[in-house]
Amino acid sequence: MLRVGIVGCGKIADSHVEQARATGRAEVVAVCDREPLMAEQLAVRCGVPSRYSDLQEMLRVERLDALHIATPPDSHVAIACQALEGGCHIFVEKPFALTGDAAATILDAAERTGRLVAVNYLYNFAVPGLQLKEALEAHALGDLVHIHTTFGYDLAGDYGLAVLSDPNHWVHKLPGKLFHNVLDHVIAKVAPFLGDSTTAQVLAFRRRKASGVPELDAMADELRFLLRSGDLTVSGVLTAHGRPVTHTLQVAGTRGTLELDYANRTLVPVAAQTQPSAIGRLFPPWVQARRFAGNGLRNLGRFRRHEFHYFQGMRHLLDQWYVAIESGGTSPVPSPEILRTCRIIDAIVAGMGGEG
């Protein structure tokens, strides 16, 4: 069993503890937060044996194999480098870093120390993401033409309320504010298909009414972007107002199109009209219905086998990452993809400037 520690005992830390344990490959032996009461609450609620308010002390005493970094992103470079130099492999919560340059600093430190780095790009390891990877490896779609991605955000949810009720929340200090915190989820899904010279056109604005609090009102809640990398384009819609809250990807290739729904965990090919005239238009809805029914049945099977957890993708990713640590393999999240994701986010955030 790997000895794992967690630094940063905020809301997302619960899922790190739960999913690390669920892999059966890691024991969470210690948690750390510079606020001792936060470390205490996580340790007590989750039954973690040791807690610290000093990261250096935790690294020295606990001799960890891996450290999960779940602190706000402006602290990631310092903590990641400290842990890597201390001999730990690191698993970083998104956003990986505030900028591409900061990401490069972490990745360089990992290469220098020979430790593995992964970031919680969980949707690439959720069932639809894994199925997409298989389809693309089998060249089922031909050459990629366009990808459209949507990501809904509920500002009335727990996290949205926390952000909107606190002008000092760390999210307001991110260059791209709220969207900076979720763009990793959106861009990490498409980064494997993009080159390193990607251009971006961006529109960001606030749709909700002004609150009168400058820090809150500076936060955009609608974002559109268009990326181009060679012949491939990617369009994105991030919305806090569109309902229902969706999380989808449509991947169009020269031979076919796939529609992925990460919230409902489905992947279906878009049905083509194969028969002529009005008769031909009768068939596709039935074809789609059969495909969705197949997805539903397979999801039922996953539920029955206990493979349908809310954070199943994260569990799968952690499992692969822990295996890589144990076997001396490579990280399931390649460093070039992390860096590319961060660079594209830099471009989108730069494009948001002045429109929030």
């Binding site: 809301k11 009461l37 936060m38 007590v44 309320l161 002008p167 539920f303 206990h306």
Partner: protein
């Protein structure tokens, strides 16, 4: 006497500010987390022209700003807490915030602190059916089994007593039951839960320990200003309805719902199954109901406000009027939606 009220922008806090002034406070500072409480301050200043009412905007998580809002304060009425969200957020905004506030108050020389706690701190799981829950009922020692909110309130109360003792500050604790009223929520989890388009009734004939927001605010104000140091008071109203009666009246006066009654034995069976399934499936479904929670919340107990009454407190709003008023508000909200 200068009084600082935290959580002044909340459901209880807004009414509590008014009740403190009505009970004779002449120097009141209202703490809001956001700089958006000016309307509340202006309204109260106009209603109580002889009193000084000021805004004391500060995030209690920001220790640097707390000395300035506590300077010269004799009494802190601490009503700020987080009632929704994740466990970490509740700890931050209820427990860490309390630690910061009390350390700053101790340093500033504050004489007395009144804490708005919760019924959730009581260890009712061990009580026999129909036992009376009063101020002598034991309090949970850790409380993880009762869920994130209860854990944060238990932790908050324990820290409150430790820090007040350390700094030599007088303490008063008020533990409200279910606070209701216009502006509040419709349905306590004690009554039941909504799921899959139906309402699962869980509380049945158990008494619902309601306290109207005006009565609760008055109870906190009276206790904070008049109670002997080191005392605890439960805030509940008279003529408490059962959960069944509350639900029936809600359906009659607010909106119809499809109600599925879940008997206690079925709830307990379901909770046992859920806990086992949660473990076996490695958390695929959250164990929101555990046998401990069911025994703590869904068995019949009785409640009393005798201790509060000994301070001269009396409910301002009757339960009959309070329910009608609240359901009229909820009906209007429902229609607007």
């Amino acid at each position: 006497m200068s009084v600082l009220l935290t959580g002044a922008g909340g459901f209880l806090g807004q009414v509590l500010a008014e009740r403190l002034l009505a009970n004779g406070v002449t120097d009141l500072r209202l703490n809001f987390r956001q700089p958006s409480g000016h309307a509340v301050v202006a309204r109260l200043a106009a209603a109580y022209p002889s009193a000084s009412v000021r805004s004391a905007q500060a995030n209690l998580l920001d220790r640097k700003v707390l000395p300035s809002i506590l300077e010269g304060v004799d009494l802190v009425v601490h009503a700020a807490a987080q009632t929704k969200g994740g466990a970490a957020d509740m700890t931050a905004n209820s427990v860490v915030a309390t630690r910061n506030l009390l350390q700053a108050a101790g340093t500033a020389g504050t004489r007395r602190v009144a804490l708005v706690s919760s019924f959730s701190v009581y260890q009712t799981e061990a009580l026999p059916r129909r036992a009376q829950v009063d101020e002598t009922t034991p309090v949970e020692t850790v409380g993880v089994e009762k869920g994130a909110y209860a854990y944060s309130k238990i932790h908050q109360e324990r820290l409150f007593l430790e820090l007040c003792a350390e700094h030599g500050m007088e303490t008063v604790i008020v533990r409200p039951g279910v606070i209701y009223g216009p502006g509040g929520g419709a349905m306590s989890a004690r009554v039941g839960v909504s799921a899959m388009g139906s309402f699962f009734a869980l509380g049945h004939g158990c008494a619902l320990p309601l306290t109207h927001v005006v009565n609760c605010a008055d109870a906190v104000a009276v206790s904070a200003l008049r109670a002997p140091a080191g005392t605890v008071y439960n805030a509940v109203d008279d003529d408490l309805p059962s959960c069944r009666q509350y639900l029936r009246q809600y359906r009659r006066e607010v909106r119809h719902m499809r109600v599925i009654p879940v008997p206690y034995w079925a709830l307990m069976l379901g909770a046992r199954f859920l806990v086992r399934y949660h473990r076996r499936s490695k958390g695929q479904l959250p164990a929101v109901f555990t046998p401990y929670v069911v025994r703590s919340m869904y068995r019949p107990f009785t409640y009393t406000n005798a201790a509060l009454r000994s301070l001269g407190w009396n409910p301002i709003v009757s339960t009959h009027d309070g329910l009608h008023q609240t359901f009229a508000y909820l009906r209007a909200q429902d229609s607007a939606a």
